[in-house]
């Protein structure tokens, strides 16, 4: 029986990709109820803003691109106390990459903090679900009283999307895609956090029936508690608890969590929550001079450590 450390080392030796979670800003004190459904009046927690990088031998992709601080930075900063926002060239530089190195970006959903900085990646092709776009466009035709449905959508991102599409750099997908790149599968959770929210499974041994799958959950899972939460009233531990924001339904969030768990054969540490401040407890990580965390989820064969 291999220890977790030995197991990681063994898997790294066989892995196609290195995977990193890179923090590009954070809210120091975020209402826990926004993260964990029903956690009202349970205080505040740190909420990091991150994107994930999938780095191959001569190729790199990202899951989401964050937002651009230029247009809304001051407003966001004042309103939500977002701190330490840093641009992609600084954040990616921590793992030896430049924005120009990114060839593909999987946009999990169209919220501004995931789809809001496409212009920073001039050589990337962006993949998003067609239904995600269609429903947001419809939502924009709704009146102001129904604006909750439109939350987090920046019309500027839509316009930048038009430009990308004209350049054939925005691909609207119609459902899940297996092997969009070798060993990388895109899954969809419809009517969950948003209309067509994607999650990314990396089969890092390249095998169809993989024993080395990592799931990059987007906003379908914010933090560990969404996977193994607890219910004090029912005295139940280890139950799925939806994230605090669903344009669709909590049921679909639960079902998406189950689908992810099934994909990783119920090894929950293989589901990577993107707004989790405690990834350091499960993976090697370091803090940069900008006070942002770099977390190494796994390392490809031959890759050098970025967190040493």
């Amino acid at each position: 029986m291999l220890s977790p450390v030995e197991k990681n080392a063994f898997e790294d030796a066989m892995s196609l990709y290195s995977i990193y979670v890179l923090e590009y800003g954070y809210v120091p004190e975020y209402d826990k109820g926004g993260v964990i459904y029903g956690a009202h009046n349970e205080g505040y927690i740190k909420l990091p803003y991150c994107y994930a990088v999938i780095k191959g031998r001569d190729w790199a992709a990202m899951v989401d691109v964050g937002y651009n601080d230029r247009d809304y930075g001051k407003y966001l900063g004042d309103l939500f106390n977002v701190q330490q926002w840093r641009p992609p060239h600084v954040v990616l530089g921590e793992i030896g990459l430049k924005p120009e190195d990114i060839r593909a970006v999987f946009i999990t959903h169209a919220h501004f903090d995931h789809f809001g900085n496409v212009e920073a990646f001039p050589n990337a092709t962006f993949y998003i679900q067609k239904r995600e776009l269609q429903e947001w466009v419809w939502a924009m035709s709704l009146p102001d009283r129904m604006r909750w449905i439109m939350c987090g959508i920046d019309t500027g991102d839509i316009l930048r999307g038009v430009q990308l599409a004209r350049e054939k750099r925005l691909i609207a997908l119609d459902g899940p895609v297996e092997n969009i790149f070798p060993g990388i599968d895109l899954h969809v959770a419809y009517d969950s956090h948003t209309w067509a929210c994607m999650w990314v499974a990396v089969r890092n041994d390249g095998q169809q029936s993989s024993k080395d799958v990592w799931v990059l959950a987007g906003d379908l899972v914010y933090q560990f508690e969404n996977i193994y939460g607890s219910n004090k009233q029912l005295k139940i531990d280890d139950l799925y608890v939806p994230v605090g924001l669903a344009t669709g339904s909590q049921i679909n969030l639960i079902m998406a969590t189950e689908a992810m768990m099934k994909t990783v054969e119920y090894e929950s540490r293989r589901i990577i929550p993107i707004h989790e401040a405690r990834l350091e407890q499960a993976f090697p990580s370091r803090i940069t001079k900008d006070k942002l965390r770099v977390t190494e989820i796994c390392k490809a064969k031959g890759d050098t450590a970025a967190v040493a």
Binding site: H111, P143, M150
Partner: protein
């Protein structure tokens, strides 16, 4: 409602009314001490929100066109809704007093309305806009970007005139002890 689509409201529908947080009374409570300015911002909020929605709708139709995600029926509904809104916004923009200090702001909203009207008229001829390299598409996109830039310039977030509604986004919470609106 008289619209064919059950999901898109008619321009005259009461649901377009000023949200409660942007009434003159609410704005005065937020620190807009000059009554005329508070009243102006309350009246301007629906114009601003309508412009924002129209930019999103018109840009969205172009986006769906380019990504082959356009559902013709729904696109027609969206375009009709934009047309009705623009007409309604045009009328509403002339129906309230504008204090002298707010005149440049009002002029900008009127300019954006005109610009969006131009884009809408271009979008009526969608056949000219499908080709990614078309000059018509260039003009439409440039005009929409100009409108978006104008919305950024005309933003007054404390009064609810904001290009993005963050009130229920991923970062919804107010910080403990902070009142972002009044700060």
């Amino acid at each position: 409602m008289s619209r064919a689509s059950p999901t898109i409201h008619a321009a005259a529908c009461s649901v377009w009314d000023v949200p409660a947080e942007s009434t003159p009374e609410a704005l005065s409570a937020k620190g807009y001490r000059v009554d005329a300015h508070a009243a102006y911002l309350a009246a301007a909020r629906p114009i601003y929100d309508g412009l924002k929605r129209c930019v999103g709708q018109l840009g969205g139709v172009l986006l769906l066109m380019q990504t082959k995600g356009l559902d013709r029926t729904r696109a027609d509904d969206v375009l009709r809704s934009a047309r009705d809104q623009l007409r309604e916004l045009e009328e509403r923009s002339l129906a309230f007093p504008v204090p002298s200090g707010a005149q440049p702001h009002h002029d900008e909203l009127r300019r954006l309305l005109g610009l969006l009207g131009t884009v809408y008229r271009r979008l009526e001829r969608t056949a000219d806009l499908i080709d990614p390299a078309s000059a018509e598409l260039n003009d439409a996109v440039a005009a929409l970007f100009a409108c978006h830039g104008g919305l950024l310039a005309a933003a007054e977030p404390r009064a609810g005139l904001s290009p993005v509604d963050f009130t229920a986004a991923c970062c919804t919470c107010r910080q403990p002890g902070r009142d972002a609106v009044a700060s």
